[in-house]
Amino acid sequence: MRYVLKKAGIFILTLLAISLIVFIAFQVIPGDPTTRMLGTQATPEKVAALREELGLNKPGIVRYFNWLTDFLKGDFGSSYTYHMPVNELISGKLSITAALTGMSFLMVLAISFPLGILRARFAHSIPDRIAMVFNQIIMSIPSFFIGIIFTYVFGLVFKFFTPGDFVQRAENPAAFWGYMVFPALAIAIPKSAMVVKLLRSSMIREMSEDYVRTAYSRGNSRWQVLRSHVMRNAIIPVVTFLAVTLVDIVAGSIIIEQVFAIPGLGRLLMTSIIGRDLPVVQTIIMIISIAVITVNYIADISYKYIDPRIRFR
């Protein structure tokens, strides 16, 4: 418990550090937001009034704390382009990206664990060698290219789904999840290949340990040993990697949303980056950073439960 609390302290400190970095990063960007909001033709009085309203003439440290308290209250400022509060802009999109990420992560688990275990069980056999070659190739295909191949094969040739025909979850949940299958799979496939590879080598390493021989000598079948002895130990390095994978999936969803025209956070981020709509970019970056740090925090504390041998002080 003390470990969890100590980690929670570090977690909060990291969040504060990130928020400060993000704040500074977006302060050094050249260009005055008032010019962007009022246009270049604005009178100096108007500019001064807006600067006063936005609090731009206060010192940096005050602005940081104002921004931070506003952020914690859920007030993310307003978009330059859409002239509406950023939180209204983001609220609907966040759940779409979260759904895509979650679905994709479950797919990675569902694909990689059975395959990884099977390949470890039949390690160095002919099918395993063939799988190794395919694994390496699949790992090298970027998810957005897989997405494009899916769009062509399943969308245009077989017509399993209509590319670009995204349905909001509120309108038709079944159609929403159905549309998400291929984007999620496009992200999941290369990631699964990496997890399979790691799980396989991790299991093979464990399989040569003494406790495995003991388990056999006590009359356990091969599958029993794999499941209840080898898996428990082999999973530890995999958990670290799964945390990295989950973070990568979040990044991957930004790209894949472009391929499948999903109006999620990633698409908003890209249009905001191109349109230089900084409040929106800043908010999305903060949200993603919080997600990344949270995932790493959860992975950190989950070791204790997976591996009771680890004693944290």
């Binding site: 790992m139 090298s140 970027p142 080598s201 093979i204 973070v247 990044a251 930004i254 472009q258």
Partner: protein, 277 residues
């Protein structure tokens, strides 16, 4: 024990050698002008004249793939050079001397590497603006932590070895020990890191251009950009997407095989006892 050939390294080097020679050839000669448009030859399927077909402007795709891959590779090369140089220097200093500075720099490193590099690259580009030079600088800086981490780990390991102690006793200067004595010993690890760096750089550049914030279309052809543009013509001209996508995948495959092969050590290999029948 019979030594098995390092297939990963062999295939990886072969593949990369082939792609690099095609790319280098592309710097001097392409079958057609990559930018020459032709309204008579719009979206033509692959044929003997245009081996990979033509795009929606009638430009030869093979020529464009060659030019685009060249852009991608040169960006990757420069970015990795920046990252590897500064990363090695930082990693060598922190790993060799250790201490508080090492501790602090590694904490910062950990925090940076926790974020997906493509995300950081997007943020950085949203601040600096797109274009070739900015991408090289942004990616180069982003690669420093990962190189620093790898090099630091190796230096920390080598620091206490007898040959280093010997050299110290002989009065060799620290910089000489670091870069003349230790550095050659960690070359395989560094090579693997460089290959992974190339792998990530190609992926990051392609992703950014695909997202429309990377190479500007006016600068030169780019594989990511080609993939982005091809989406609108996916049904009528799928070869357009296929050529660009395969080119990216082959580049990445070559580098990932090299990194795999370079990090291969018989002793690191998972112990493989005979399988129970």
């Amino acid at each position: 024990m019979r030594k098995t050939p390092n297939y990963n390294l062999i295939f990886g080097c072969t593949l990369t050698a082939i792609t690099v020679s095609v790319i280098v050839l592309g710097f001097f000669w392409t079958p057609f002008d990559p930018d020459a448009m032709s309204s008579a030859e719009k979206s033509m399927a692959p044929s003997l004249k245009h081996l990979l077909g033509t795009d929606n402007f009638g430009r030869d795709i093979l020529s464009r793939v060659m030019e685009g891959a060249g852009t991608t590779l040169s960006i990757a090369f420069l970015a990795v050079s920046i990252g590897a140089t500064f990363g090695t220097i930082i990693g060598a200093l922190t790993g060799y001397f250790g201490g508080t500075a090492d501790e602090i720099i590694m904490r910062i490193n950990d925090a940076i590497t926790a974020f997906p590099s493509i995300l950081l690259a997007l943020v950085a580009v949203s601040i600096t603006g797109g274009g070739k030079t900015n991408i090289i600088i942004v990616l180069g800086i982003l690669f420093i932590p990962s190189f620093a981490r790898v090099v630091r780990g190796e230096f920390a390991k080598q620091r206490d070895m007898d040959y280093v102690k010997n050299a110290k006793l002989m009065g060799v200067r620290h910089t000489r020990i670091m870069f003349v004595h230790i550095l050659p010993n960690i070359a395989p690890v560094l090579l693997s890191a460089v290959a992974i760096g190339f792998n990530n750089a190609v992926l990051a550049e392609a992703s950014m251009s695909f997202l429309g914030v990377g190479i500007r279309p006016t600068e030169s052809a780019s594989l990511g950009r080609m993939l982005l543009d091809s989406q609108a013509y996916l049904f009528s001209a799928p070869w357009q997407a296929l050529s660009a996508g395969c080119a990216i995948s082959i580049l990445i495959l070559g580098f990932s095989l090299i990194s795999e092969g370079a990090s291969y050590r018989p002793m690191w290999r998972p112990t493989t006892k005979r399988r129970r029948k």
